[in-house]
Subunit: 191 residues, 3 copies
Amino acid sequence: KQHLLLMKQLVLKQEQQISSLARQLQQTCCITDGTFIWKITNFNSKLSEAKSSNKGLELKSDSFYAGAYGYKLGVSLFPNGNGTGEGSHLSLYIRVLPGEFDSLLEWPFHLPISFQLLDQCSDPDKQVHLKESFVPNPTWKHFQKPLKDTERAGFGYSRFVSQETLKNGTYIKDDAIFIKIKVDLASFVQP
Amino acid sequence: KQHLLLMKQLVLKQEQQISSLARQLQQTCCITDGTFIWKITNFNSKLSEAKSSNKGLELKSDSFYAGAYGYKLGVSLFPNGNGTGEGSHLSLYIRVLPGEFDSLLEWPFHLPISFQLLDQCSDPDKQVHLKESFVPNPTWKHFQKPLKDTERAGFGYSRFVSQETLKNGTYIKDDAIFIKIKVDLASFVQP
Amino acid sequence: KQHLLLMKQLVLKQEQQISSLARQLQQTCCITDGTFIWKITNFNSKLSEAKSSNKGLELKSDSFYAGAYGYKLGVSLFPNGNGTGEGSHLSLYIRVLPGEFDSLLEWPFHLPISFQLLDQCSDPDKQVHLKESFVPNPTWKHFQKPLKDTERAGFGYSRFVSQETLKNGTYIKDDAIFIKIKVDLASFVQP
């Protein structure tokens, strides 16, 4: 019984340590220079799961900071589509998340963003990456400063790529796909 | 009882994993290009705690490396002041910590350092960041190569900002303040 | 008994959290700009252990990515030597490891690599770092794209430095040595 108590203390201490590590990791490591590559493995089983699900499976990337002490972002992908792309396309969105440094940044978020689905054809000359880009419109609610208890809607493409194109191309390799996000930091003023 | 033993093994293994993660995080992630922003949350309750405490509450930042494989530094802040600033000011200090790569670096530490308390006024044009900077004097003991069992004293400002200015300004927002450290790496020779 | 069950759940949850942290750390933090410094502590006891061991002790560095979303590499060091250097030298090798982004990279790996054993003489003018460098030959099997279940052989120097030179020089200080790897990213095309 004494052993149980000792272990309980250790486990509780570990919970705090894990929490602290996660926070430090978030704040200092998930910093990008604006480029973020999201690798989605086991893609085919996720697509199957999405098709058999009623609710429309949404995959979420790790969050990342665009620039040190910058905006916190996250990417969402619906393997079986969402909205106007449901059942026929793959949908892709980016979302502004509440970040640690939001009080120091300019709002609304205004940096140009591009999405790419990378073509994994082994011949680099034959690769055709699928790309969409946009500049956030300052009036859109998606890009206003995040509030604590409300999650902003993501912005993106419900019909990013048709499932047909996805299946027939070389985007899926070894059951994985790569989504590349580029946030243009040229006009980002670091705090 | 067997269950207890199995779990004990697992918990001990996790302790090693957590330790290893913390070390890797320290060495590879807390690397800055010389700029480090420390966000202090729950500031008002920390200030209250500091005022009611006898000993003078000292808050310590995560440690960080200025430059990859460079100097390891840490920041200390006394919400209710320290020394000549006790009870009337906020005190701010930087400390050279024993780092993994100290044997490869030049001593004493000689890089220019600046402290800023960031003004969080929502109008960027009205922001007045409070700034102090200095170039370490090579004779000061604070900046000699750290010894294993002795912690070097911190160097900084016991009267960094008056509590009056802090209260009346827009430095505290959503109960948080931001301290920005800049270490000038122009003359830093990476190992 | 109920306590035991609750704790079992917590410990299992922590195992997942630790696993996730390790993965995130790997992917986002062990990114270098091509320069990686490996500090080996307790060197003398490791050398003793290597000498008394039959099998030839191999020390392995943390793995790292040369460039964001680039090649994953690891370094091996034999304190008491390996192959033609066994018993008389320190051997040093680099190995291409299966990385998360291999499908997006050019193969075979072709970037110039240099190894350095850093001289820790306190007078910078008297430091004589021991250096070897090479450009991978595209036909070598070491630098082909890694396969999932086979580990590629490391490439390097079985006779990197003689144990004589190591002992008589200032490479070991405070029982630690530093190995510096430089991967030239000039011709690296980021995905």
